[in-house]
């Protein structure tokens, strides 16, 4: 399709929004390029009104003049999909940042757009389809190995209709642009299939047989999450919290330890420093499941707070589209978006420039439906090939003033399956992870027995009540039984809920160890201890706490661990024997 270039003039500039007066045909969300001097900067149509179209500009608009020309492409904002996405670091528009650094140095110069995938690299292609096969878009014709991932090459999902494979390339090493197959449509037209394809980011990839109910836990090795507030494979969760409560540290811990095949990290409007930590540290960390570098299973989309705001809006869509693409390979992908509030703010900024009637706190009225449709792109699906694949989405939320009543948190809570609320109170007391054990909830099944879990939750609730009561009536006025419940809840908090992310052993507790630990803790919780006075009770629990905490730092298969477990057993029975 060769089209004439459509060029239209700029008539207004307002921050990162430009207004264009058009005469030709214009599509909503179409990509266009504005010419500023020598640079061409990327924009997207966001509103058409009368003879004017408003475009959000993905770069700084400095220097743009009335009368400058804008070139329309007739394409929606898309990403390139194909082998080589893993280990990459992209900005919100899928520009590879390390390559950009080679080209333009320390700073992100505007108007430079590079190809997302390496076109020189050779991939070993193995065909699985044959000439004469009938195929439809999304069907697999072969695969290449991308690290440990079996990366299927497909008939581009954007195509329409049925095709017959005319010829297919033999096994061998090829670049992404080499022709892997020629297919013929009903009209007899021949098209070439390469290893890559494009997909518009704002439209979900819906090429699967059915959506299933997410029920298997996604192990994150974080005890509070897996045991108390589990996340299901294909589920959604959010982690709202005031600043400094540890949202990002928690997200990093999850991204490192979660048992997912592919992890897409969308650093959206947050600090660049956080991304740098990932960039510099992940290559040296090993993924315990494959023994390879953590980077090998990661894709990072990085549009930090000082990078252009409109690209921030696009970045979460870019991220989820990449996750969907790997789901199509039959993989379990995890998308972590930090933070969805910054994305919502980007929407708000643009809505303000469009002078739309504002909703609550000046967020646009369509905020809720956008958040809902974003999280709905998560899910466990059965693909047409019969395999299952999933996307689990975890979004952090940064509520203004730490107040969960604000629109972004509320809209998010409506659509997620688990709420891991971080609290200032807990982070101030250095009780990390600061997930509030009473306020948080999850609709997914836990890895431990439900009855025992409910019992433990009960202790936490009553412990907190007793603590409140003690503040009013004092410790001396508190009944011994209540006091013991309080001590038990504190014990559970210290030894199980709190976890030191920065320790190699304590920072990641696999499911098996969690079950074993939880059994021990549960035993303490349900043992009816008796003590002569409160001081004795406190001393006993402090001792027990020390024993458990020390054990949390021991490798599970060592002698030390076994000895410590023995001591713990004796101490517990020693405490309860007094009772007899």
């Amino acid at each position: 399709m060769t089209q004439e270039k459509i060029l239209e003039p700029v008539v207004g500039v307002n921050g990162n929004m430009i207004t264009v007066e058009y005469s030709g045909r214009i599509m909503q969300n179409e990509v266009a390029y504005a010419a500023v001097g020598d640079a061409r900067i990327k924009c997207e149509v966001i509103r058409v009104r009368g003879k004017y179209a408003d475009l959000q500009v993905f770069e700084s608009t400095n220097g743009l003049k009335v009368g400058d020309m804008v070139e329309f492409t007739g394409e929606l904002l898309s990403v390139e999909l194909g082998p080589g996405l893993l280990t990459q670091v992209y900005d919100g528009l899928q520009n590879p940042l390390p390559l950009l650094a080679e080209k333009s140095g320390f700073f992100l110069q505007r108007g430079i757009y590079l190809r997302a995938l390496d076109r020189e690299k050779l991939w070993h292609f193995t065909p699985i389809a044959q000439a004469g096969d009938k195929v439809i878009p999304g069907d697999r014709i072969g695969f290449v190995m991308e690290g440990v991932v079996k990366h299927y090459i497909m008939i581009p999902m954007r195509w329409q209709g049925e095709f017959i494979i005319d010829s297919i390339t033999a096994e061998g090493d090829y670049t992404i642009d080499d022709c892997m197959a020629q297919v013929k449509n009903a009209a007899g037209e021949i098209s070439k299939v390469t290893m890559t394809q494009h997909w518009p980011v704002k439209i979900p990839i819906a090429d699967y047989a059915e959506k299933l109910l997410p029920e298997t836990p996604l192990i994150t090795c974080q005890r509070t999450i897996d045991t108390f507030f589990p996340v299901a494979t294909g589920g959604t969760f959010c982690t709202p919290g005031p600043f400094g409560a540890g949202k990002t540290v928690l997200q990093h811990a999850i991204s490192q330890n979660a048992e997912a095949d592919v992890v897409v990290i969308a650093a959206c409007g947050e600090r660049a420093g956080e991304v740098v930590e990932i960039l510099r540290e992940y290559p040296d960390l090993t993924d315990p499941r494959t023994g390879r570098s953590l980077m090998d299973r990661s894709i990072i989309i990085c549009n930090t707070s000082s990078m252009p705001v409109s690209a921030r809006e696009a970045s979460v869509y870019t991220a989820v589209t990449l996750a969907e693409y790997y789901r199509q390979m039959g993989l379990n992908t995890l998308l972590l978006a930090d933070s969805t509030s910054r994305w919502a703010q980007a929407l708000r900024e643009m809505s303000g420039r469009l002078e739309e009637i504002p909703g609550e706190e000046a967020f646009p009225a369509y905020l809720e439906s956008l958040i809902a449709s974003f999280y709905e792109r998560a899910g466990l699906v059965r693909l047409r090939s019969g395999e299952t694949g999933s996307i689990t989405i975890g979004g952090s939320v940064s509520p203004a003033g730490g107040n969960f009543e604000e629109p972004v948190t509320q809209a998010t809570l409506k659509v997620v399956g688990a709420f891991l609320g971080l609290s200032r109170e807990r982070s101030d007391a250095r009780r990390y992870p600061a997930i509030h054990p009473l306020d948080s909830w999850s609709k997914y099944p836990s890895i431990v027995d439900k009855k025992q879990l409910d019992y433990a939750r009960g202790i936490l609730h009553r412990g907190s009540e007793v603590n409140q009561m003690m503040k009013v009536i004092g410790e001396e006025g508190t009944a011994m039984d209540d006091f013991i419940v309080y001590l038990k809840s504190e014990f559970l908090d210290y030894t199980y809920l709190q976890q030191n992310t920065f320790d190699a052993i304590d920072g990641a507790t696999p499911a098996e160890r969690q079950r074993s630990m939880f059994n021990d803790v549960y035993e303490v919780l349900q043992t009816p201890f008796t003590f002569d006075d409160k001081e004795e009770a406190r001393k006993f629990f402090l001792k027990l706490r020390q024993l458990f905490t020390d054990r949390n730092y021991m490798a599970m298969d060592g002698d030390e661990y076994r000895e410590q477990s023995e001591t713990i057993k004796n101490t517990i029975s020693g405490g309860s024997r007094k009772d007899a």
Partner: protein, 432 residues
């Protein structure tokens, strides 16, 4: 010769609108009025209507005044000749010495490519235990001091600046009281630091639009020094005034306010400045310490709230002390694992116990009998406040850690402090 425009059709606040052709977004212009010549900057284009914010304020501008577009954006010199000098928000000397124009660089440059940053590795020692032990300051960190009017935040800023080992100090003053400016100048002078300092000072008496330029000017200069391999410390005080100036312009431009009148892009605006803090791969670094005064001591006010999400922690200055709760250095994990093996344990344990002490204080104030444990906490809390928190304490990190163990051992038994047994065995001081 550039064309001169005369047709000013709107004057509102500090923003004027003129009918003109060919003006570029963000371009500078000169406005000549009866009051003299002032710089202005294009902030909106709408057909042939060009809106400009006038740095010297729109007061006294008439509808027939002259506007000449300069065809360039705001620039500042990045040369070494700036050292020891004082400028206003527009970069005009305040010290009656000649202008510096060589080596001009644009302000408000694009963001640093995250791939060109490195993980900060160097601790900045301040000899203030509340910082060194509990919330370590790290080179290339961006950190605000949250405070309220009347607290000694500028003194704290100056003290950290003088103790920190950096090559260049850049002071950006926004809405600064003239007295405070003189105090800064004197303090830096007394310690012989003036010759490695550049100051951009906007005082409370100067036009408000100039205030908007101060962070960009300061950071642009910092950037050009850092690219030459210098370690630069930028002090910004007070960023709340900067945010208020943003608000003023936004309201004049009839933008829809988000919260409490502040524009919806407050977060991005603040982030654009704070994110200039950087440790360059194979060049120097920029560390930013800023003061954010909280109106009504309210941390949920939009300015401190947005700041807190952007910066890598904050120091919460209250009652003349750095509060352990609310204060945070997000980068401390990068360095405190390599200082001394007990650093993290002491940091966590002492804060946890101090939090318990605070609840005990509450109980005490309600008149409850104190248990033996409460008595221990009370003793501990007092010592902690006097020997650790007080800003007059000036001891090295190592001495502060030793002092921490000494206080713990004085107040508690070994298994009451919640520290791993092996560390207790290594560091727990034997009672004499």
């Amino acid at each position: 010769m550039r064309k001169v425009y005369h047709k000013i059709i709107k004057i509102s606040g500090n923003v004027i609108t003129v009918e003109a052709e060919g003006a570029a977004y963000n371009e500078l212009a000169e406005v000549t009025s009866a009051r003299g010549v002032s710089l202005a900057q294009v902030i909106r284009l709408d057909g042939n209507q060009v809106s400009l914010q006038v740095f010297a304020g729109a007061r006294g501008i008439s509808t027939g005044d002259q506007i000449r577009f300069l065809g360039r954006e705001m620039t500042v010199s990045g040369s070494d000749a700036l050292l020891g000098r004082v400028f206003n928000g527009r970069g005009v000397p305040r010290d009656n010495r000649p202008e510096v124009t060589d080596d001009a660089t644009a302000i408000g440059t694009p963001s640093v490519n995250p791939a060109k940053r490195i993980i900060p590795r160097n601790m900045i020692r301040t000899n203030i235990p509340m910082i060194d032990v509990f919330n370590t300051l790290v080179e290339s960190q961006k950190l605000p001091i949250f405070s309220v009017a009347g607290e000694p935040y500028n003194e704290l800023l100056a003290r950290i600046a003088l103790q920190a080992e950096v090559d260049v100090i850049i002071l950006g003053g926004m809405g600064l009281k003239y007295d405070d400016y003189l105090i800064f100048k004197r303090t830096l002078d007394e310690h012989g630091a003036l010759s490695r300092t550049v100051m951009f000072i906007h005082t409370a008496a100067d036009p408000v639009v100039e205030c908007l330029l101060v962070p960009d000017m300061s950071l642009a200069v910092a950037e050009s020094y850092a690219l030459k391999g210098k370690r630069v410390l930028v002090l910004l005080t007070d960023m709340t005034n900067f945010a208020d100036a943003l608000k003023e312009i936004a309201v004049t431009m009839e933008q829809i306010p988000a919260t409490r009148g502040y524009p919806g892009d407050l977060y991005s605006q603040l982030a654009g400045r704070y994110e200039k803090a950087v440790d360059f791969d194979s060049a120097g670094s920029i560390t930013i310490l800023a003061v954010t005064t909280m109106p009504g001591d309210d941390v949920t006010h939009p300015v401190p709230d947005n700041t807190g999400y952007i910066t890598e922690g904050q120091f919460y200055l209250k009652g003349g002390r750095i509060e352990p709760f609310g204060s945070l250095s997000r980068l401390k994990q990068q360095v405190n694992g390599r200082t001394r093996s007990d650093h993290r344990a002491i940091m966590d344990a002492m804060i946890r116990l101090f939090s318990d002490y605070r609840s005990t204080l509450e109980k005490q104030s309600m008149g409850f009998r104190m248990s033996a444990w409460d008595e221990k906490l009370l003793k501990y809390g007092k010592r902690f406040e006097n020997e650790m928190m007080d800003l007059s304490v000036n001891i090295s990190l190592e001495n502060a850690l030793d002092l921490g163990w000494e206080i713990l051992a004085d107040c508690f038994d070994r298994n009451e402090v919640g520290i791993k047994t092996d560390l207790i065995e290594e560091y727990w001081p034997e009672k004499a």
